[in-house]
Amino acid sequence: MANNYYDLDDILMEEEYVSVHFRFEAKGLGVLDPGSEHDDIEAGAVVDIPLWLAHDLCLRKFITIKLPYFYNERIRKEIQADASCVDLGRWCPYFYEMGLRLAPISPDQTLGSFLLYCLQRRYKEMLCKSLTVALTTAPKFLTLLTKEEIQLFEAARDSMKAYNKWWFQGARLERAPVLGRKRRLNALLSSFELT
C-alpha cells in the first residue's frame, strides 16, 4: 500500500508503540517516560514511544529501535508450526504494515522475508474461508486476523456478495443509506395521517 498522507489506517498504524533505546540525552521529553521524575530523558534510557516519533528519531540516529515482542523468535516458531491459527490480530492489528515500516530501520535483516512468509502461509486459508462462509454473520476466526488481512477478507467477501446480487438480480435502485431507517418510518406515518 502506498504511503498516503491522508490514509487513516496508516496514521493509526504509526500510533503503535515501540520500545526504543535513547543514545543521547533529550531535553523536555520526560512526559514520554512514565517512570521518569524530571523533564528530560537520560542517555541510555529505554522508553516506549509511538512509531511515528521513533521512525524519525531513528533516521537521525538519536535512538535505536528494539523490535516489538511479536516479531521475536518464539512467535516465528509458532507461525512456522501453523500460521493460520496464530492470533496476530490480538498482538498488533497492523502486524504487516508496522513490520514493513520497521524492517529498513531495525538491525534484524530477516524481518522482511519473515513477514512475506507469514502472509503467504495465512493467505490461502483466509481466501478459502472468505468465499465459503455465510455472507451475513461475522465469522469467529475474524478476530485472529490483522487489519490488513481483514481488508483482504472483506474484499473477497464483497466480490462474492456482488456476484450473488448479480446472480439473483435484486432491486438496483435504493435509497441513500445515510438517511438511516427512522426517516422511512416517519414518511410512512405522515402518509397515514393524510389518509
Binding site: 493509526l12 521529553l29 516519533l53 435502485l173
Partner: protein
C-alpha cells in the same frame, strides 16, 4: 500537557467511524478538534523554547540534548497537522458523496451535523457540479448503475402531491403505483420518497 499525538489519534479513529457508519452522518467533533489544535500550539511553544537554548550553547561537540528534544517536538507538530487534515479530508469525501446521493438540498438533520465551513464547502461543491452538469447538459447523478429498462414501476412512500412528470402534472398519492421513466424516478428513490415496486 502535550500528549504527543494521543488526541490526534483519537480524532483519526473518529474519522474512521464517520466513514464506517452508513446510516447517519456523524457531527463534527469541534471539541476534540480544538483540543488537538491547542496541543499543537503547545508543542510549538516547546519547540521554540528548545530552539532558543540551542543557540546558547552552540560550541559543544556531542549531540545537543535540546536538539533531540526539539526534533521530537517538531515531529509532533507535523503529526498533529496530519491527523487534523486527515480528519477534515475524510469528512470532505463523505460530504461530496452526499451531493451525489441526495442532490443539492440536504435534509435538516444532516445539515445540523455539518460544521459551518463544511456547509460552505457543500454549497460550493454543489454549485460547481450543477454548473458543470448544466454546461454539458447531462445529469450525471442519475444512472449510477446501468439500467436495463428505461421505465420502472414505483410505489409512492412519502407525500409528494402534484409533481411535474414528462411535461404533465401527475399526482403522486401515498401507496399508489406508477409507471415512469427511470431518470425521473431515480432522484426520488435516492431521497426515500419512492421505492421500486416489484409485482
Amino acid at each position: 500537557m502535550a500528549m504527543f499525538g494521543k488526541k490526534g489519534a483519537e480524532l483519526v479513529r473518529e474519522a474512521k467511524q464517520t466513514l464506517a457508519t452508513e446510516d447517519q452522518f456523524r457531527p463534527f467533533n469541534q471539541d476534540l478538534f480544538e483540543q488537538v489544535v491547542k496541543e499543537t500550539d503547545e508543542h510549538y511553544a516547546h519547540l521554540q523554547e528548545r530552539m532558543s537554548q540551542i543557540k546558547a550553547n552552540e560550541s559543544s561537540e556531542a549531540v545537543d540534548p535540546n536538539f533531540v528534544g526539539g526534533c521530537a517536538q517538531h515531529r509532533s507538530v507535523l503529526r498533529n497537522k496530519r491527523c487534523l487534515l486527515a480528519y477534515v479530508n475524510a469528512r470532505m469525501s463523505k460530504i461530496k458523496q452526499l451531493r451525489w446521493d441526495l442532490g443539492a438540498v440536504l435534509p435538516d438533520d444532516i445539515t445540523a451535523n455539518l460544521s459551518s465551513t463544511e456547509r460552505t464547502f457543500f454549497q460550493g461543491y454543489s454549485e460547481a457540479l450543477s454548473s458543470y452538469m448544466a454546461d454539458i447538459n447531462l445529469d450525471l447523478t442519475v444512472d449510477a448503475t446501468p439500467p436495463k429498462d428505461p421505465y420502472v414501476q414505483i410505489r409512492v412512500i412519502g407525500n409528494l402531491g402534484e409533481v411535474l412528470l414528462d411535461d404533465q402534472e401527475t399526482s403522486l398519492l401515498p401507496h399508489s403505483i406508477h409507471f415512469m421513466t427511470r431518470t425521473e424516478a431515480e432522484p426520488l428513490v435516492m431521497q426515500g420518497l419512492l421505492e421500486i415496486y416489484q409485482g
